[in-house]
């Protein structure tokens, strides 16, 4: 540590030495300390510049500085996140200056597509999150940051496995079949996901309305998430490091039958000779039996290390950071690791030429990431673990799940998946003449994703082993050429931008598989050891050519106009349908800036905004419209050889083109009490036309789907945000609070003449299409039987739709539209309370109005398809057959031949509204004065500590995303995590 300090001291000296002191007659040596007005903490690295001269200094590690300056001159003090302060110098050489944090966010600059603008001048709907809003929470991924902190952005943790799926929807689902994911842009380069170390983030902006997103044309319809990473700060070298250690556990387990009860249930339903009396006695006394939940679940441990250095001179700045994350999941053997390195450089080569370079390299590794919760929840407690313990062959469930032993699978099989990412981004900026800049930006995203699997033959009797290696490499490149003119003419301010952009993506895949290994010792690393082998490869490419223009004009910051136009040509569509045109316009009026408002001192801002625009969606895969042949790989000749076959694949759909979203937005921004309270209100409407609809082909034509441009969806809603510092600056306790609420209503307006569209039966557990797309209803509406009661023999009674009568045997005509998968309202409430060196953060997230079809419960409480028996304790103990008073029965009879169980019945539909205490953290900072080394912040926090919900499943938020929205087919819940953290700022 001493060496480190020495190094820093040297660097510091060098830096100080580089600041040449000029002694003049009227000069004086001024020195002092700069502190935070609230905390009284010294501020390190404050820029101190002598006004009118180009020289200055910065504060040292104790917030101290000294500078030679003429008496009567002015010092300009600036520091990121603080209000810039000017100090007039008099005869007193001792300066103790307090700086105030900039809570007046109106003067903030926000990033918009292809440029930046003052937040106060924004005409569109943009949600902005700065690093300050999440710095107190141990976030592991960007989606954690967006969740609940941005109005109009619904973030759903689709599964809770480390590195698992997250669904992000900006203002609802706009596309019916394909990609409603927003466009991600990291430092100006389009990205396939949000693979950025959260601590590298300076800010995230979410562009929501057309005036903001139309600049992204064909890819903007689902909203745009702009991520800006940190830049190096001029001045003293800053070193920061942090360590977070977390412990994760499952929040809620299912109450399953114990081995003894299960054994009795087996004898009741499968026949009394299923479990012998002696064995039953062993289950009763606990000498036998398996608790699969106990066996498959564990306490996960996560370790998150971050280290960064930032600094530089006025001309050359750097930001370097590294992150190492290692997580074990709450399910056995599941692991996730991520390592990231980022280097951001800014080089001002001449006054008119600046080079920005951003390099990000990362590796992530996931081990045994596929955990089938349903298999172990449905595995019988009444069995032995091994079929043949000597040979190590695991036993398959003789009574319930038809899948191989989940414990054996996880212990013996291996799934390893790696992702290597490299993102390089270079931006050359030229100041051509006053106000005119030209930038050429080139970006490259390289992703390599190798996966390796091995399946042992020991997972059950007579199983066959197999292995695979697969590698997918994708290269995305983008070239953006931006000419921007930005100038004020008196009270008029004009920003005009013209951009030409080309981008392309190329993916290549290679894979080998082997079946029936002769010696399993080789695992997945010796394909030649396998008796049967197959190989595959593939290629895919797409490109986009775009031109765009934007004009932003404002008068006195009072009236603002924005107009944009973009044209995109996409390779995914065929000639004649290739080019799309996307215009938008927006107006804003800040009433507070009017002369007649001068005398009032309530509003510092009162801005009305309105916008309209057309944005597109091209989110279909490459070659989707071409109609290529499909390949069969399974052998049909009864051999273990590979016989590749070709047959009809997709239907060629040359007429398919853009889907267009017509977006309307109105907003009001108000700032009162000198910016201590800010309100923002938005209303929007999005009409998506020419939907890229995946039309279901009749099964008599072979089934499957094909693309058409048909139909219309409407999304409308309101968003409300308030952020405030309710306690004034003199109070020793500071409280920052920010609350947002979003409402979105989704409605299908037209399906090109069809009344409704249902998909295929995808569960295989005995449920129909489950969801329906029907005119007048939202996307993600469920299509279910109406369950009414049990009949006198304990069979389920469903309501007939034709006449309302009750039946045990409903037909498909009795399915009705009910419930919705997407939340109607989402809320977020983030609070930070500070007192002296203590900080307390409480973050609450809620979603209201969504339903989940709890197919997990259906599978646990009914004998369905692959889950042949019941596992849920209540399904047996509170089932019709068992309860004495039949009115108390919670579940239907399991033995009545008249009883029919349907997973697609509203019996299993549950209100999944929830409120989650997403984060609560308490931290204490030991200032450098005390530790002598660095500011040390110790924190303890809990994520997902408490969930308020009526949902009976494991987690109301997650669901199984394979085919449906909002269907819980054994989805992986988000764990409860306790995190201990230490943060050091040297």
């Amino acid at each position: 540590m001493n060496d480190l300090r020495k190094t820093f001291s040297c660097l510091l000296l060098l830096l100080l030495a580089s600041v040449t002191s000029i002694c003049a007659q009227n000069t004086k040596m001024y020195s002092g300390t700069i502190t935070d007005v609230d905390s009284n903490e010294p501020i390190i690295g404050v820029n101190i510049i002598l006004k009118g001269a180009s020289r200055g200094t910065i504060t040292d590690t104790e917030g101290k500085f000294s500078i030679n300056a003429p008496i009567g001159s002015t010092l300009v003090l600036s520091y990121i996140g603080y209000l810039t302060k000017e100090v007039n110098l008099d005869n007193n050489p001792l300066l103790n200056i307090a700086m105030q944090e900039d809570q007046q966010q109106l003067s903030e600059v926000v990033v918009i597509g292809y440029g930046t603008m003052k937040k106060s001048n924004v005409t569109g709907a943009i949600a902005s999150v700065s690093y300050k809003q999440f710095k107190d929470q141990p976030v592991k991924q960007i989606s954690d940051i967006l969740q609940g902190r941005t109005s109009g952005v619904a973030v759903t943790n689709v599964d809770g496995i480390p590195g698992g799926n997250v669904k992000i929807r900006v203002r609802g689902t706009t596309s019916i079949n394909k990609s409603s994911d927003p466009l991600y842009v990291i430092d100006g380069i389009v990205a396939s996901g949000l693979n950025v170390n959260p601590s590298d983030i300076q800010s995230i902006e979410v562009l929501k309305d057309a005036s903001a997103t139309a600049i992204y044309g064909s890819r903007g319809a689902n909203g745009v998430v702009l991520v800006t990473t940190k830049k190096g700060k001029e001045g003293k070298v800053q070193v920061f490091a942090s360590v977070d250690v977390g412990i994760s556990n499952i929040v809620k387990k299912y109450d399953l039958l114990n081995a003894y009860d299960y054994g009795n249930a087996l004898n009741d339903y499968k026949g009394s000779n299923t479990i012998s009396a002696e064995t039953l006695a062993e289950y009763k006394n606990g000498s036998k039996g398996i608790d699969w939940q106990d066996l498959m679940l564990q306490t996960g441990v996560s370790q998150d290390y971050k280290l960064g250095v930032s600094g530089g001179s006025e001309k050359n700045k750097y930001y370097i950071s590294a992150n190492l994350l290692d997580m074990t999941a709450m399910t056995i053997t599941t692991k996730y690791q991520r390592a990231q390195l980022r280097v951001n450089l800014d080089n001002k080569i001449t006054d008119w030429f600046t080079l920005s370079t951003k390099i990000n390299a990362s590796r992530s590794y996931s081990h045994n990431g596929s955990i089938d919760m349903m298999t172990f929840l449905n595995y019988s407690p009444t069995m032995d673990m091994f079929e043949d313990e000597e040979k190590g062959i695991y036993k398959k469930d003789p009574y319930n799940s038809v899948d191989p032993n989940p414990y054996g699978k996880r212990v013996l099989n291996k799934e390893d998946s790696y992702t290597y990412n490299f993102n390089g981004n270079m931006d050359l900026q030229f100041k051509l003449i006053d106000g005119l800049t030209f930038s050429v930006q080139g970006g490259l995203n390289y992703a390599n994703n190798p996966t390796y699997t091995f399946d042992s033959s020991l997972v059950q009797a007579d199983a066959v082993s197999d292995m695979s290696n697969a590698s997918y490499t994708n290269i995305f490149w983008q070239n953006t050429n931006n000419l921007t003119y930005d100038k004020s003419f008196g009270d008029h301010h004009l920003t005009a931008t013209a951009v030409f952009e080309v981008s392309g993506s190329e993916g290549k895949s290679l894979g080998i598989t082997g079946t029936d290994l002769q010696n399993e010792f080789v695992g997945y690393w010796n394909v030649t050891n396998a008796k049967t082998r197959d190989a595959s490869n593939g290629y895919s490419a797409s490109s986009l050519v775009s031109g765009l223009a934007r004009v932003m004009y404002d008068y006195k910051g009072r009236y603002m106009v924005t107009g944009t136009f973009r044209t995109d040509g996409s390779s995914k569509f065929q000639k004649g349908n290739r080019w799309g045109y996307f215009p938008s316009t927006a107006l804003a009026w800040d009433i507070a800036k009017e002369d007649f408002m001068k005398d009032q001192n309530i509003f510092s801002q009162l801005k009305l905004r309105g916008s309209f625009g057309i944005v597109g969606n091209q989110g279909i895969g490459a070659y989707s419209t071409l109609g290529m042949l499909a390949t069969t790989t399974h052998d049909g000749w009864g051999t273990d050889q590979v016989h590749t076959g070709y047959w009809t694949g997709n239907l060629a759909t040359p007429d398919v083109t853009w889907e267009s979203t017509y977006q309307y937005n109105a907003g009001l921004d108000a700032s009162v009490l000198n910016g201590r309270v800010n309100f923002s209100f938005e209303w929007f409407r999005k009409d998506t036309r020419d939907l890229l609809l995946q039309k279901q082909a009749p099964n008599y034509n072979g089934g499957g789907t094909f693309w058409v441009n048909q139909g219309e969806i409407k999304n409308s809603g309101v968003e409300f945000t308030v952020s405030a510092n309710p306690l004034d600056g003199h109070c020793p306790v500071q409280w920052q609070t920010s609350f947002n609420a979003s409402y979105v209503k989704n409605e299908i307006m037209d399906l090109a003449g069809d009344d409704y569209i249902v998909g295929a039966n995808n569960t295989g557990w005995g449920a129909g299409p489950i969801e329906i797309k029907k005119v007048g209803y939202p996307i993600g509406s469920f299509y279910l039987y109406k369950w009414k009661n049990f009949n006198s023999e304990g069979a389920n009674l469903y309501e007939r739709q034709s006449d309302g009568s009750l039946t045990t045997s409903p037909t498909a005509d009795d399915l009705t539209v009910t419930g919705q998968a997407e939340p109607k309202w989402t809320f977020g409430w983030n609070n930070t309370v500070s007192w002296k060196n203590w900080d307390l953060n409480i973050f609450i997230n809620a979603a209201v109005g969504q339903d989940r079809l709890n197919m997990s419960r259906f599978g646990l409480a009914s004998m369905v398809g692959k889950y042949r028996f019941i596992s849920l304790a209540d399904a047996y103990n509170q089932g019709w057959d068992k309860v004495d008073n039949k009115a108390d029965a919670l579940f239907a009879s399991h033995s009545n031949p008249d009883n029919k169980n349907y997973g697609d019945s509203d019996f299993w539909l549950e209100d999944a509204s929830f409120m989650k205490l997403k984060n609560i953290s308490l931290s204490y900072t030991f200032p450098r004065q005390v530790t002598k080394i660095a500011d040390i912040k110790l924190s303890v926090s809990a994520q997902n500590l408490y969930t308020l919900t009526k949902y009976t499943g494991m987690d109301p938020e997650v669901y199984s995303s394979g085919f449906y929205n909002g269907v819980d087919l054994g989805a992986y819940p988000v764990p409860r995590t306790i995190t201990f953290g230490m943060k050091l700022n040297f």
């Binding site: 026949g271 064995t279 390779s571 016989h643 009809t648 042949r868 009545n896």
Partner: protein
């Protein structure tokens, strides 16, 4: 000034770098080039393409028939086989109790998968002709495609009746339902084309292996045609004698071909070998099969047909035998290999000496849920030629027993029945082949049948023999017991019998009856499945 010059230089150089990029014709950049992928227009360019189109069709056949919800469970309407009264057997139970709903998820699966085969066949039928190879090679491929299309339509017409007639790869939301005679016309015409096109025998792998035809050969087509004529002769077309005669003729062509060794088929001497793993890849009795491999494409048949309280890892209990049919089944080696001769219950399985019990074993103090005989034809334990009922150890759900589409012994029965029902033809040959079947079943040259039988007796004897030959077998075979009953319009009789559900004496003083109640009133609509709701939603012509 130098400042401006430098800017100019930088811009110029930059321009030079970027210009080529900008000048790349946008349209060139934006035109897709799906490297490595094939389109219909550049396929069927070589004999290899033809082989690969067949690979696809057989791959789809095997995969779309791998489990009983994919193929065959419709056969539980027959009097030989039934299912479980509760458990997860809702879909199949609806068929067994003659009350199928349009939301039956297995029926949906069955429908979808059968149409996939039609699609794969149409792909070849519509395109193969332009392959630049010999007429013989093209015909070989076309003939097989015609056969499997006919096979699929026969499935449709027997299960759903009227269906859309899809012969081209086009999407049509308004396709009308073709009538039953129209569909039979297509089946017969496809089979006649196939008959002329497919080879007598294949010689090359994968079309033949171990001296056995794997792909569709001439004898298989002729046999199928024979059974299709029998079906046309019976319900609902009731074309009668003329078609029985056609059926007899086609069956006789197969029999003659076997006798003069044109076809390499013969009856296995012992019935226990018929469904054994021993002969799985070289069974000379099988005219056509769907082949599987444990290390390739597997079937999920091994556990389907025995009960959940039985050992051997526990059955899935999808089906079990009907008691009356078991009772009437003549004793002998055939019955021994058709059913589990003895069973081990799960609770007895862990003992060192597991108790072998009769299927009807039950104890009022510890009652069983289902007490019924179980079929053993599809049960297999890896590496064992014959399944051993006295070994309770678990078996894997993944198996490789071939699905037997047509066996020679069936053709013998059809011939005898067709001769009998047409009331003319070679009774001597008919009785002789029927005796061949029965003698093997009895394990002795019992020669039970003689030419002194009336044509009617001959027909009924052959009908019964066929029922016993394929009892409980529903794995892609064209002639299940249910189909025999269907064409003879005897399903309704069995419906009444099941409603009555009498106690049957299965051993001295031991009475058993069926577990699934059958109720309601017979209607001929019960002969068919309703159209799956998903397709009805797309095409209103499918509304019954």
């Amino acid at each position: 000034m130098t400042y401006m010059k430098t800017i100019y230089r930088v811009l110029r150089n930059l321009g030079l770098v970027l210009l080529p990029l900008w000048l790349v014709s946008c349209e060139d950049l934006l035109t897709e080039d799906p490297k490595g992928q094939l389109a219909v227009v550049n396929f069927f360019n070589t004999k290899g393409d033809l082989d690969q189109s067949l690979n696809a069709m057989y791959s789809i056949l095997a995969n779309e028939m791998y489990a009983n919800n994919a193929v065959g469970f419709d056969a539980v309407s027959g009097d030989d086989i039934t299912t479980h009264p509760a458990s997860n057997k809702q879909s199949i139970r609806e068929v067994d109790s003659y009350n199928i709903s349009n939301n039956n998820s297995w029926a949906d699966e069955l429908w979808n998968r059968r149409w996939k085969v039609v699609k794969a066949a149409n792909f070849i039928i519509n395109n193969a002709e332009r392959t630049p190879t010999t007429k013989e090679e093209i015909n070989k491929a076309l003939g097989q495609a015609y056969y499997w299309r006919a096979y699929s339509y026969f499935y449709f017409v027997m299960t759903w009746g009227k269906v859309p007639m899809v012969v081209k790869d086009e999407i049509d939301y308004n396709m009308p339902l073709a009538t039953i005679p129209e569909i039979y016309d297509l089946i017969v015409s496809d089979l006649q084309k196939a008959e002329a096109m497919v080879p007598i025998n294949y010689t090359e792998e994968p079309y033949a292996r171990n001296g056995v035809n794997i792909a569709v050969s001439q004898a298989a087509v002729k046999a199928t045609l024979s059974y299709v004529y029998m079906a046309m002769a019976g319900w609902p077309l009731n074309k009668g004698t003329a078609y029985y005669k056609l059926a007899a003729d086609k069956a006789k062509e197969v029999i003659d071909g076997v006798k003069n060794s044109t076809y390499n088929n013969s009856l296995l001497p012992e019935y226990k070998d018929v469904y054994s793993l021993k002969w799985n890849s070289s069974n000379p009795e099988v005219l056509l099969g769907i082949y599987y491999s444990r290390t390739g494409t597997i079937t999920n048949a091994t556990l389907c047909d025995f009960l959940a309280d039985m050992a051997y890892g526990g059955g899935w209990g999808d089906t079990n035998g009907e008691i009356k049919f078991w009772k009437d089944f003549p004793d002998g080696p055939r019955k021994e290999s058709t059913y589990f001769s003895k069973i081990i219950l799960m609770s007895d399985a862990n003992d060192d000496n597991p108790v072998l019990r009769d299927w009807w074993y039950d104890d009022p103090n510890t009652p069983r849920t289902v007490v019924a005989p179980c079929f053993m034809k599809k049960v297999e334990r890896a590496g064992e030629d014959y399944f051993d009922v006295s070994d309770p150890s678990p078996i894997n759900q993944n198996g490789e027993k071939m699905h037997q589409v047509i066996r020679l012994s069936e053709v013998y029965c059809w011939y005898a029945e067709a001769v009998g029902r047409s009331g003319e033809g070679d009774k001597t040959l008919a009785v002789s082949v029927l005796n061949e079947v029965r003698n093997r079943a009895d394990g002795t040259a019992s020669n039970r049948y003689s030419t002194s039988m009336s044509y009617e007796e001959l027909a009924e004897s052959a009908y019964n023999e066929h029922g016993w030959e394929i009892a409980g077998y529903y794995w892609a075979n064209i002639a299940t017991r249910a189909r025999d009953m269907f064409r003879m319009n005897r399903i309704k009789d069995h419906f009444e019998f099941r409603k009555e559900n009498p106690e049957i004496e299965v051993a001295s003083g031991v009475f058993r009856k069926e577990a699934i109640p059958v109720t309601g009133v017979w209607s001929d609509s019960k002969m068919y499945f309703p159209y799956p709701a998903n397709d009805v939603a797309l095409n209103p012509n499918l509304k019954n």
